[in-house]
């Protein structure tokens, strides 16, 4: 199984493949760590404010909103759960698809898919409470243009990002992201495998199929006849075999572009398992026929290695297709939208205040300025941040939040804003 050997050397297998349990515990770990830090940071901010106001006893407080925010902070803050974090990340994965679509010409599917996997990998070890996905999302998409050979300048890329996001904002978390990706940039996608499988099926339909090594007496004609006599998938009318293949191809590809990206499929399954599962969902008889040409049908001898392999593979594909089927796009689901708004509000209150400005320290900076930045970020770590600065951050967030929350959960859905801009011009 030489191809399996290749896959096992890939960084996707070595670093980014999990069992359900290991993935769950990793996410829980990340969430616990971030929640503890948020609580600590907010407590520190509160204490800082207390000592600031006690030192200013007798001075009337001219800013009433400060008092408001103080009472808000006194309650123990409610942090996001791992599940809420996952929902939030999925929402921003969907935003990647839309942002990519809004470029002229749209960014290639593969670039968007790579960016989505980067975002998902990033949030295995980072929490949205620490780094808001809205700042990370454009950055992963830009990195994906570089790693997937779709060259565009940062300036050009930034022009496509709606709102007042500057080129500097986009590139600021680059190093943080790359470090979280553990400097592995290669993502093994299921798209090319699907194309290959469809080409093979097309060849069979034209009488050009090659018999499998275990079944050498089979002719190209036998293969073609077997394909033509396949039962139709449910809810389809009969059509020519080329139409059927085209439809299966299209539907499977749509699944790979959406459900395969938005679920944990890449963390649990290999690219081949993913595209075969998508093909099973698109046209089950056709996908099973394809597997039979490779492995032989369920033979009479249950102890035969090929029969056992066949059974094992079908179980895996069944599990994977169940996962793919579980995906519902946010746009078509009002309940999810409502839930997302709730999570957005919750996140607003549990963002780690000490990390809000920290991205500045992540900016790629000329070597001369590096020392200054190093000092600055060192300050961030020893919590000696002056009280006034903490307060300023809190205020800034409140003001910004008030201005934005009116119409949106995350300060403007990027693509919605963009659409409005376009309609306006």
């Amino acid at each position: 199984m030489i191809e399996d050997d290749f896959y096992r050397t890939s960084s996707q297998f070595r670093l980014w493949s999990f069992t359900e349990d290991s993935l769950r515990s990793l996410r829980r770990n990340t969430n616990t760590l971030a929640s503890d830090r948020v609580r600590d940071a907010l407590r520190r901010a509160r204490e800082a404010r207390k000592s600031a106001s006690s030192s200013a006893v007798g001075t009337p407080n001219p800013n009433a909103s400060d008092a408001d925010s103080k009472t808000g902070d006194e309650k123990d803050i409610e942090c996001l759960t791992p599940e809420e974090e996952q929902d939030l990340v999925r929402y921003f994965c969907e935003q990647i698809v839309q942002l990519g679509e809004s470029y002229k010409p749209p960014l290639p599917t593969i670039v968007r898919a790579t960016a989505i996997q980067y975002l998902r990998r990033f949030y295995l070890t980072n929490s949205p409470m620490t780094y808001h996905p809205k700042t990370i999302m454009p950055c992963v998409l830009f990195i994906a243009t570089k790693t997937d050979n779709y060259y565009m300048s940062l300036r050009q890329f930034a022009n496509g990002v709606p709102g007042d996001t500057s080129a500097e904002d986009i590139i600021a978390p680059e190093f943080l992201v790359m470090q979280s990706l553990r400097f592995t940039f290669d993502v093994r996608h299921p798209f090319r495998g699907l194309e290959g499988g469809i080409m093979e099926l097309n060849a069979i339909s034209q009488g050009l199929g090659q018999p499998a090594p275990h079944n050498l007496q089979q002719t190209s004609d036998d293969l073609r006849r077997a394909m033509l006599s396949l039962p139709l998938p449910p809810n389809t009318s009969s059509s020519s075999i080329s139409d059927r293949l085209a439809r299966a191809h299209h539907n499977a590809r749509e699944i790979l572009k959406s459900a395969a990206q938005m679920t944990d499929a890449y963390f649990f399954y290999t690219p081949a398992q993913i595209w075969l599962s998508a093909l099973l969902l698109a046209d089950r008889p056709l996908a099973e026929f394809y597997l039979d040409t490779k492995l032989g049908g369920a033979g009479p001898d249950p102890t035969h290695p090929l029969t056992q392999l066949h059974a094992k593979l079908l179980t895996t594909l069944h599990n994977c297709s169940t996962l793919l089927q579980s995906y519902k796009p946010l746009a078509s689901d009002p309940d999810q939208k409502k839930a997302m708004r709730r999570i957005g509000k919750k996140l607003y209150h549990c963002q780690n205040p000490e990390k809000v400005n920290n991205l500045a320290g992540q900016k790629r900076i000329p070597a001369a300025a590096a020392a200054t930045a190093a000092t600055a970020s060192a300050n961030d770590h020893d919590h000696a941040t002056p009280e006034s600065e903490m307060e300023q951050i809190a205020k800034k967030r409140k003001v910004e939040g008030d201005a934005r929350r009116k119409d949106d959960i995350f300060g403007g859905e990027l693509v919605m804003e963009r659409t409005r801009e376009r309609q306006g011009s």
Binding site: F6, L15, S25, F142, Q179, T184, F185
Partner: protein, 399 residues
């Protein structure tokens, strides 16, 4: 680890394993701390912790070389001062505002994926405080093939060439099998390990095979090793571009001078035509449709060269060796042999047998040459000039 169709003779494989244990750092597995096993420490992000762990594994010793793009240090494992590594620190380019440069991204992306005895190993990647990227690479102290080709005091024969070429072909085969084009194969990107193993290095111009109909740039591969389809501006190409380069390295190893050394792109294509024949619609269907194709007038047509030409120019290779070289130098990329086909060629099993890698000719000064090679930016064309520039760097360097 997957092995190529042409499996190395087993005695040397065993020796390789031994020497790898004693002379180079075996740290690959160290890169793989599973994420879920990391125990959180107060106020360090999980990935920062992982990065610190990796960084603390190594000690940077002395500087080996410095270029515009990178600085290379000799380093070793903290726990074992005798296990050397090369640490390539990629400079933060203040001119480049678009974040990490493409060269660095490509190099890291592909070396993270390719593990093969004939490809330079990337043991680890870590970032230092000032956000510089550090690649911990396999230590290759015996310089490169260019050094051996150019030094007239080094004597080698066809058995040695066969050993080097077999290692090169296996490395290239592995890249192509993983859908990666190297796009800068030349003698000074072929580094030599302490046990004599040849390693393909510098993946700064590498990329994955494009999907059908997608364009790629034709501005790759150092000129003397660049195939005619790229000189003609082809935007869709295959592993055949690397095979042409392999053929040019083969020819250069035999002649000890570059075989087709043009001083401009135009001169390069002229020299290729003079040497191998003029590309025509007959010997290379639809060549005239390539964007930068230059028609040759009928009087200057050089007929396509056959077997006797290769045998005449490369007598040391013998008839079978000349046949292999010819298959790598087909003008039409569709007729050029693939890496897999090259490895199936009968030359490898024809007498003389390839020299055992431990017994291959060697030369001192390799460490410095490695420093040189690893700091160079991919695809640099004017080798003479760059060499001069690099000598200046070294003159300024102490120790």
């Amino acid at each position: 680890m997957t092995v190529s169709p042409l499996v190395p003779p087993s005695p040397s494989a065993v020796a390789h394993r031994k020497s790898a244990g004693s002379e180079t750092a075996r740290t690959t597995q160290g890169n793989e701390s599973p994420l879920q096993q990391v125990q959180p420490v107060a106020d360090r992000e999980i990935t920062e912790q992982l990065n610190d762990e990796v960084r603390h594994k190594y000690i940077k010793a002395k500087k080996l070389g410095e270029g515009t793009y990178a600085v290379v240090y000799l380093g070793h494992l903290r726990t074992d001062p005798s296990s050397f590594v090369a640490i390539k620190k990629i400079k933060v380019n203040t001119e480049y505002k678009d974040g990490l440069s493409m060269d660095a991204i490509r190099e890291v992306k592909y070396l993270q994926e390719l593990r093969h005895p004939n490809i330079i190993a990337l043991h680890d990647v870590f970032s230092s405080k000032d956000q510089n990227l550090n690649l911990v690479l396999e230590y290759l102290p015996r310089g490169d093939l260019e050094m051996l080709i150019k030094d007239s005091n080094v004597h080698y024969g066809v058995a040695d060439v066969k050993a080097w070429m077999a290692m090169l072909a296996r490395g290239v085969w592995f890249c192509h099998e993983n859908f990666v084009l190297h796009r800068d194969i030349k003698p000074n990107n072929l580094l030599i390990a302490s046990d004599g193993e040849v390693k393909l290095a510098d993946f700064g111009l590498a990329r994955s095979f494009a999907d059908p109909y997608l364009n790629m740039t034709h501005q790759v591969i150092t000129r003397w090793y660049r195939p005619p389809e790229l000189l003609y501006g082809a935007r869709q190409y295959s592993g055949a571009v690397d095979i042409w380069s392999v053929g040019m390295v083969f020819a250069e190893l035999l002649l000890r001078v570059p075989f087709v050394a043009g001083n401009s792109d135009l001169d390069q294509i002229t020299k290729i035509c003079e040497a191998f024949g003029t590309p025509t619609e007959e010997n290379w269907p639809s060549v005239s449709k390539l964007p930068n194709y230059i028609p040759t007038d009928g009087n200057h047509l050089v007929p396509l060269q056959g077997r006797d030409f290769f045998l005449r120019h490369f007598p040391t290779a013998g008839p079978v060796g000349a046949d292999l070289l010819m298959s790598m130098c087909a003008l039409d990329p569709r007729k050029r042999s693939t890496a897999y086909q090259a490895l199936q060629h009968s030359w490898w099993s024809t007498e003389p047998r390839p020299t055992n890698k431990e017994d291959l000719p060697r030369k001192s000064g390799g460490t410095k040459k490695m420093g040189d090679d690893l700091t160079r930016r991919g695809g640099e064309l004017d080798d003479q000039f760059k060499n001069a520039a690099r000598q200046l760097d070294f003159a300024a360097m102490k120790g």
